[in-house]
Symmetry: C2
Subunit: 225 residues, 2 copies
DNA sequence: CACCGTGATGACACTGAGTATTGTCAATAC
DNA sequence: GTATTGACAATACTCAGTGTCATCACGGTG
């Protein structure tokens, strides 16, 4: 259409003004004026000034939630990696906007706080999903918490690297690497299929003393009480 | 002294009023009036309404920072666990206040956001410290990010459990368990001392097929590229 | 064509957080 | 005794966010 949606015009006006004049210096009136609507209309589309910077977070969160829920215990790991890829893909799709927002968020504490809060919402989602997946196994809550935190941290690390590099390279190989790392690290979280068919690998240095071997074994056993 | 510090009176008045009348329903004027000072005095002691709920976060953060900086690469793990214990100890010291705040934060989204932001600051601190510690090793940034996230997640999991239980039990054994778990999980993050003297443990199910063993080994190797 | 319901928008008023400025008073220094 | 400093109060201001009501465009209906 000739005139893009009001919602989109508002978001664009907001980011442009924040960029030009600074966040605190820009009033909602300014944004509404630039978008050619009234102040009240702004608040009809966005609950707050910050909201205009993160227009589609709720949608994305719902998408991730849906992807996680559309899986069984057998496909949990795939669901998690898929969900993370969805999020990253969302940033990559609109690299222009993502980069501008990244620079903006870096300069405005209020926006940084907002972003951190939304990251926490993803982490909570993953935690709940993984918690259900692991339910019944020992330390399920703890493990779910740790794995959710790691998954989200891995995503953020890759995303930040991509943003800092100016959104130039393809971030999915790094993401796969990072997620592979997380999954390998947490592989022993998976519930043993039938309790007897586990495969575990151990190697010993030929020069290792029996004491050193014992300590390694104790550490290993100590982590699964 | 007969009259406690104004700062303390303000914080107490704030939490009391938030408890009685709700957060949004309480104005800064109310808080100041209850503390027997003027509105402007409130803002002299706290930058915002939320600040009054988390009076000593900055101090605690500085303490943690100091503890981390007062360590070398050799003692990094001890420093991390110590730092986490400092934080938990701070909550336990004043269980009364911690519990009241926990209930309050659970009900007020604005406070929850604030708390999440301060958790992020701890995580950042740990990430930087661990990053320096691992500097030079492959994937140092990624590993630092993951371990910091896990350490913080472990702490929060234990803290939440303690708070939900009403602050009754001693949370340090659970913390040790959780941290032990994290450290065991990330043990292979430690840089090998001299590259040849590692001790690694591997066990195989007697019924495992050679293929299963090979897969396990490949997974193991895949996590250290 | 006149009428009517509906949904989007604007105009406006109000509350309250946070800031900045200025004034006042008391303690301490000199 | 006077000057300086610092803690607090008083006041006015900006602006985010909420709520209410009027207006206008519109599509359908009689």
């Amino acid at each position: 259409m000739a005139t893009p949606s009001i919602s989109h015009r508002l978001a664009e006006a907001a980011v442009a003004l924040f960029d030009e004049n600074g966040y605190d210096e820009t009033t909602v009136d300014d944004i509404a004026a630039r978008a050619g609507v009234s102040r009240s209309t702004f608040f009809r589309y966005y609950r707050s000034k910050e909201d205009a910077v993160f227009p589609d977070h709720d949608t994305l969160l719902a998408t991730v939630d849906a992807r996680l829920r559309a899986s069984t215990a057998d496909t949990a790991i795939v669901a998690v990696t898929d969900a993370v890829r969805i999020v990253l893909a969302h940033y990559v799709e609109d690299a222009e906007v993502s980069l501008r927002r990244y620079r903006l968020v870096g300069r405005v504490p209020a926006l940084r706080a907002r972003e951190i809060a939304s990251v926490a919402r993803y982490q909570r989602l993953f935690r709940e999903f993984i918690g259900e997946w692991l339910a019944g196994s020992p330390d399920a809550d703890l493990r779910a918490e740790l794995m959710a935190a790691s998954v989200v941290a891995a995503h953020n690390q890759v995303l930040r690297g991509w943003l800092r590099a100016g959104g130039t390279h393809d971030p999915f190989p790094p993401l796969d690497h990072a997620l592979g790392y997380v999954i390998a690290t947490f592989r022993h979280l998976e519930r043993p299929q039938d309790g007897k068919d586990q495969v575990v690998v151990a190697t010993f240095s030929r020069s290792a003393s029996p004491q050193a071997v014992m300590e390694a074994i104790q550490d290993h056993l100590g982590s699964r009480p």
